[in-house]
Symmetry: C4
Subunit: 386 residues, 4 copies
């Protein structure tokens, strides 16, 4: 989204979205422009970038994938002989998807890995301390630091790691909607592969624990809970939904605060963000993690669920908890959208659809929406974006 | 309180209170001025701010609420078309109350949420690790990171999150007393709403745990302790009071140290403050959290207590522990006042009532106090503050 | 110790001891000068400071106490009407002792407080989680963050908080030996008072736990271990000593690394030091805390031991563990001295007695030592230091 | 490795390897130069350094050891009378080995120390909390902070602390291969000595626990697991290998991300690296620590294994787990190499053998390799490096 700063085309991070330039640009054109598409993107790459920097083939492919034509690569690395290699060109085209994939994979490996270790070693008396290799808190650590390290790894793509957060960023922070599909695919694959590696790693331990079976909660030796979330038995459907919804709301609300450059309490530099995220995820796990397992992320839940279905956990991965599986698919999107809405209504003063007439609800009327889509398409065409 | 620096009107944070300008201004006028009212506030907004920046209606309403006429908003966001919207104007008027409300709500959601999860899942053998979803330490984490994230969210209001800390800041750090009521209301509402959300989230779990009842400690399946604090049975009234008092004293003493710009051990930048606060709250929980539950904050205790009374926990929320409820209302104020006093007596060298003749106790004499109030009122009038 | 930089007289922190100026001064005069006395101190205050800055009475009193004549106070705060008040003058004279006192008191309140809470609530089934208010790890947290917050509080005195560290700093880092006694007294008092507050806070809980008695380990309901350390029963005297010695060695070795400005791995800014110290103390507690309770600090052990003797724990506080009490008095000094020696031998390249001929052991010969003491005394006299 | 920057000869840290100068130099000469030998090293010391700075004897000895002729010492400390002392000269010659030795020793002391404390105190009811002095999580803390503090200590050698990481750095990040042997020896010695100190410290506790025996898992009171790792009994050989391999892959992947200066998500300053490493190691321990004990480091496993063999744990230290001992010797090297490969393939855009034709696999062909070795030797000769 660093479209306004073609001289530093690598700044895809959220914090950069609110750079002075961007805001100025936005403010001056204001309400006539679609909020979900950065107005400066179109002019940036077509006119100001030297045409020989990356071949126009690159730019077309990236644009077709929904990415910004200019890849977020260190400028120096983007030139010279190294960048001419075939694989380097592929990596440049798929830069953000690769980053999101590995970010989510790292996150899920640590997160699911911690559940696996704690669950499978429950009560093992030969452990140092005599009571298993970790306790529930170890899982809070695992997910918290998994997200933190995933964000470090995926810095070049903005480190969303969660389709619901990408979604809210499109909705409220002018991340172009065209980005969503390719990010979504990369994130889902990351969840699938990350959990698959955990499964491979704990294969003989699962065999040992389950006696060769593969069962789903509430079975007594169920191990499916290592990979995706299953709700507590006493929960009503409403409570299931509410628990995921409220955790997602909190997630988005706090992340928008942490990424709000005009919030006085937040360090201007982005150095603190991953550590704060560790605390946030740890907190969601200790405070809202019991009832439904705090999925709050379709990539972290559906990806591993598909993996566990693929390796033979059976149809119960879908039917368990009264077909619970759709809740961590839907609730995070709604919760994050609501959390972002709350933050923008009560605290955010920067550019956001909420800061337009009718709290931005006008965007939901068909006429307004159609006008915006047409304007969006026209600008894309002018700039040669497919 | 950034009244001395009209060019950057957003710096309401504590650390900014001690900016060079402020101290200079203070030092030169010194003892003739009331310590609890920043002397430079009155001239700042009336003369130096461009009159068209925010409408005078705004300023009057904010002033009537006890807030600084100038809202702590990014200057750029405070102009342009966005700021003309009705809701934006409301948000500008209620900027600090909104921030305090959400800061406290976030804090209480994490804090009470962690108690709820640990308490309600006690001993659940199907948990990974076989022994519930968390232990007492998870509650230390919950409150510690709740305060930390609440401070990040509430940066624009100074992130007091605790009426006793607002109180001490008025007493020793020249936060105008007029601020106290509106901050207090916002903080109390935050505690009420935050704990209400936790109640809603754990509704079916509480039903399951209590069998439909709602009981208060020392009942066997009491869940009222999720929301507000109840003392251990063996405590005398004195010990109850002392425990809350000493924890509040420590809280204020360390916070004043962390916010003392002339203390060599403290990083000058404010980036570290929320993390240090995490450690401080974690520490109070591990070291002084057992006997009375370390409320140390009326907004965190009375707000949720009212909520739990409203949803049907009965009169025992007031009578339990020998009508303990008044102690976390009173002790934090006295403890924080004492902690601030100790810090200012032994370490602080900046402007504070303690650094006036008679260690500032002269301020307590009727004649001196009356003179100050009159001077205060006169200056307010001159500057047009209601 | 910032004697070479009279324009910024507040830099008493360790990191500042190795300022370029100091090192230059030291290097040029090198082996003829006593290593344990900063050569530039004597000229600094007598000639370059404006005589009217602090009254000469101050300077004489501070000098007599062994402190640098110039107090580490924000220059601006050191002038103006505030500084003329009687109490301000007392506070200026006793600046470092006050800081060390409160730093140690804060440290001990958190540390001993965490032991008290965990010990006295052991196994309480009404706790959230059903198993007491904390576990052994809470004690690691308590001491770790106690030291961290104590360092923040005591920034103006250098935040030694431990006579053994003051000792090693005199030995290897040119902290004047004259500082040692007043620091020592302040640190001991801090330990005494801090543990006394913890005792007062947990008075009724101790009564409840012990049934009115006060016993010392290995008694079954002993509570003396809250305040000072008692060794495990199976330990030989050698193991007792070795455990304290090795923990102190590690403490000093790592602190010297963290404070070595020429060590590439260490952030130049001091902001990270308190957090690193948290990890260091946490680590010593988890790794070397079982056998003897990791006192590694006479102020943290003897101070509270005296307090517990005073309130009636009886002669066993001295006789327990085969008159163990002298080990945490002696071993920390020897261990810290050894740890500092190892660091200076193997890694440190700056000014240190170890970096003189014979690895500095020449300083131990009577002739050399006598010559140094005479030179030291002569210089003090010339500069008017009592 | 700071060969390109002779004016600041101390920058041996990884982050410095990728300084602009280096990359420029590399990029311009690109594929003709051997990737594993920094091209600028040879000219730097021979021409640009003043000949009188360090004696040529030094430089020859260091070069013979495989180190850069110029030691990473604060320039100021490298001159003057101090540097003329015999021991100072020895320390200068052995600078990096000393740093790695102590870094690994510190790491192992904390890591093995935490296992010792938790294991030997398992279930001790007299502990505060009534259940031993720590739990499995304390071991995660111990290793995590051991690595963190070890990195602080060993800053001057680059703080590899793990031969597999040195290996990957040679392979992908142009650390000269000549460095590997001396680093390896220092790291192994550090592991041996560090674990020996832990053994000495817990000698009487081990006697008490084992009743004078020394046994190896799966014996009932085995204490050999304090020092090196033994796998769970149910594991197949493949699972044993995979567990170590995947943990090492993660280790290297994340470290390369954290050290990638062109990764947007990573703070440019190196201040955060040790803390991130704490989280990484903590995570590996909570998520992949159960099955094989996460050795992921030959120096941390073989060194202590030799020590435990030497003090009498018997041949079982080798035969246990089906002669498991070779897996933590081999798997970390392969895993780290694979992790580095993955990072360079998918994310890294800087100079790496992977960013050469055929993904760098050409380097594995005999002809290409021979040509490189010859060119390497010729350049060394020209520059007078033995």
């Amino acid at each position: 989204m660093a479209q306004a700063a073609p001289s530093s085309p690598r700044s895809y991070d959220w914090a950069e979205d609110h750079s002075e330039d961007r805001l100025h640009g936005y403010t001056s054109n204001t309400s006539a422009l679609p909020l979900t598409q950065a107005p400066t993107e179109h002019s940036a790459h077509s006119s100001e970038l030297p045409p020989n920097k990356t071949s126009s083939g690159f730019r077309k492919t990236r644009s077709a994938l929904g990415l910004h034509p200019q890849a977020p690569i260190d400028e120096e690395h983007d030139q010279g002989p190294r960048s001419e290699l075939l694989w380097s060109r592929i990596r440049t085209v798929l830069r953000e998807p690769f980053a999101e994939f590995w970010g989510v994979a790292i996150m899920v490996m640590f997160g699911d890995g911690s559940v696996a270790q704690v669950l499978l070693s429950t009560g093992q008396t030969t452990a140092p301390g005599g009571n298993g290799f970790g306790n529930y808190q170890s899982i809070n650590w695992g997910w918290g630091l998994g997200v933190m390290l995933g964000v470090y790894v995926a810095g070049d793509s903005g480190a969303y790691l969660n389709p619901a957060i990408t979604f809210s960023s499109c909705l409220y922070r002018q991340l172009p909607w065209r980005r969503f599909p390719v990010y979504f695919i990369a994130q889902m694959l990351g969840g699938f592969v990350g959990s698959g590696i955990v499964y491979a790693n704990y294969l003989s331990a699962i065999d040992y624990y389950e006696g060769g079976l593969r069962t789903v909660p509430p079975a007594k030796t169920a191990t499916a809970g290592i990979f995706c979330t299953y709700p507590q038995a006493f929960l009503t459907k409403t409570s299931q939904f509410f628990s995921e919804f409220i955790a997602s709301t909190l997630l988005m609300f706090v992340i928008f605060a942490l990424k709000d450059p005009s919030n006085n309490g937040v360090p201007k530099s982005d150095k603190w963000f991953p550590l704060c995220l560790f605390f946030l995820i740890f907190g969601l796990g200790s405070c809202f993690g019991w009832q439904t397992g705090y999925a709050i992320n379709i990539a972290r839940d559906l990806g591993p669920r598909l993996m566990s279905y693929a390796v033979g956990y059976g149809n119960e991965v879908w039917s368990a908890g009264g077909y619970y599986f759709w809740i961590p698919m839907v609730a995070p999107f709604l919760g994050c959208a609501f959390g972002g809405f709350l933050y923008d209504v009560f605290i955010y003063t920067g550019p956001s659809p909420v800061n337009t007439p009718w709290l931005g609800l006008k965007h939901l009327t068909p006429g307004y929406a159609r006008r915006e889509l047409r304007a969006h398409a026209r600008r894309n065409k002018e700039d040669g974006i497919v």
